[in-house]
Amino acid sequence: MTTTTPVMSPVPTKERRLSRAERRAVAAKTKLTSPAASAIAIVIAVLWTVPTLGLLVTSFRPELDIRRSGWWTAFTDPQFTVDNYNEVLYGGTNFASLFVNSLVITLPAVIIPITLALLAAYAFAWVKFRGRNVLFVAVFALQVVPIQVTLIPLLTLYVDTGLNGSFWTIWLSHSIFALPLAVFLLHNFMKEIPASLVEAARMDGAGHVKIFFQVLLPLLTPAIAAFSVFQFLWVWNDLLVALTFAGGAPDVAPLTVRLAEMVGTRGSDWYLLAAGAFVSIVLPLAVFLGLQRYFVRGLLAGSVKG
């Protein structure tokens, strides 16, 4: 028996019934739809994997080979090199420094909005004040505002204050755009914590700050992790915000901006594009694979409740 049954009920008889039902379900399914179903599933899985695999293989092939033959020939005539990566990282395109830019942009743009949203969510969940519900609905509703609507006035504002073309504008913009969803999500998680726990701490004479840091924060770690992964991927992979506020500033622009630009200016230099694409993909992929559990949790909380 390879199928594992999650334990749904502590009552042994019921559990046995459930697991037998499930085993029968699996058996019935396998009998009825197996060959066709497996074939379709495999076709989808292949379609979703091969394009990335193709570019990955390409990124390790010598420049001339890439131009002369398809990446699949590398399986019969393997010729691999890391020259493309050397060139794209330290050559004229200087992706190494762009990688640093992406990193410098991303960390504060994850930490700042989550901290702000945690504090705001605490006030919405556990501090009673007039107009609380109206304000919460207003913040929630701001999620519908597309980023595009805000870009030009924000840019004007940044130019007027002399901040334009620095990291500050990007940190600020990403923080602002993340807030409505972050406040809403973290508020939901915070509401799930039993009120009795907060009441008990209050009885013991703990103030808001103490309750926030000592009672709530430890319980919220999975939720914070979930949203952090979410926000990390969103900021790292963003093009629109970076292009608008740092498009003309090479010292600030992240990987996505230059990669998109390179497709336009050096569209046939696949040795650079392939390696460049993977330089930009590798960190989010690692984060994603490492923290997939949290990401899925955040995804489900965000979409099913919102």
Partner: protein, 329 residues
């Protein structure tokens, strides 16, 4: 001051990042310290301390800019003269923009429908099989890749080489065409089918999201419902049609609307793969082109407002459906 605004070496950038985070932490600590004196503080002061920074940022960064953009959409290209509805008239009557609107409709209809169907089918097929975790990870992976990265990946799939003796195709799709004896195609140049090839990329990116949410919904269907249906002799396709799909309807609505909104607002795929040329532009891309390439700020603002207006009915539908679902429960 210069040190804070211009960082060009790696060490300087990293130092600036650390300073920014510390500065932020210090400001927040000061605010919290101020509202958390041991003596009794009225609740509204506490609320102001906890909420103040967020509300301030939202007012300055979202509410004011949105209003300013709505105002700007009634002005000319540099915002100097009031032109009434002229920008909107341009968007809805010019030939160029008719193509843009047609493409946008194509995106907002095709991407959610195909993505959700594929995600549902796949989630259903791999549910409770031995390879479920691996199978899901493969389809989920594109979620971690930026749309720019996905654009590069797929541009390579669509790469075209002229059909001459001695020239070999390097794009996978054209190679497959050559193998079955069809002439290679310029997938991204020839309209209007090139729109479909761009849409394929968006579906590829979004399917993992649909699959994850729908898979969780399928797993949440109570076993007794499935068992009862089975005892009544329901199985296979009928089970899918009459038990699975109705049971996860709320999740389906959420996925459809979420993907619709994402595909309405995203411009990265179009920007990276065609730059909006060859009749492939969509509203989100045209907003960028008009605002930052043509410097027609008024028209750009009108397009941004159009995006805003198009999002609202989708969200309203979503909220209404969620309400209905909660009432039933």
């Amino acid at each position: 001051m210069q040190w804070f605004l211009e960082a060009s070496t790696t060490g300087h950038k990293l130092a600036l990042m650390v300073v920014a985070i510390l500065l932020f932490a210090a400001v927040m600590a000061a605010i919290l310290f101020a509202v958390d004196r041991p003596k009794r503080v009225p609740n509204w002061v506490v609320a102001a301390g906890f909420l103040g920074p967020t509300i301030l940022l939202l007012l300055v960064g979202l509410v004011y800019p949105a209003l300013d953009t709505v105002r700007g959409s009634f002005f000319n290209r540099d915002g100097s003269t009031f032109v009434g509805l002229d920008n909107y008239v341009t968007v809805f009557t010019t030939d160029n923009f008719q193509t843009v609107l047609r493409n946008t409709v194509l995106w907002v209809v095709l991407v959610p429908l195909v993505t959700t169907s594929l995600g549902l089918l796949y989630a259903y097929l791999v549910d409770r099989t031995r390879f479920e975790a691996l199978a899901k990870a493969l389809v989920f992976l594109p979620m971690a890749i930026s749309m720019v990265g996905a654009g590069v990946i797929w541009k390579f799939v669509y790469e075209y080489r002229p059909d001459q003796p001695g020239v070999r195709q390097i794009g996978l799709l054209n190679q497959l065409l050559v193998l079955v004896g069809v002439e290679p195609q310029q997938f991204l140049l020839n309209g209007p089918s090139n729109n479909v090839y761009l849409i394929v990329v968006m579906i590829w990116i979004q399917a993992g999201f649909a699959m994850t949410v729908l898979s969780a919904a399928i797993k949440a269907i109570p076993d007794d419902i499935v068992e009862a249906a089975r005892l009544d002799g329901v199985s296979g396709v009928q089970m899918f049609r009459y038990v699975t799909v109705p049971s996860i309807r709320p999740a389906l609505v959420v996925v459809l609307t979420t993907v619709a909104i994402v595909s309405l607002k995203a411009f990265d795929v179009v920007r990276t793969m065609t730059g909006g040329q060859f009749g492939t532009s969509v509203v989100a891309n045209e907003f960028y082109t008009q605002s930052f390439r043509q410097f027609n700020v008024g028209l750009g603002a009108a397009l941004a407002v159009l995006l805003f207006v198009l999002v609202i009915p989708i969200v309203a539908y979503n909220v209404r459906q969620l309400r209905l679902a909660e009432e039933i429960r």
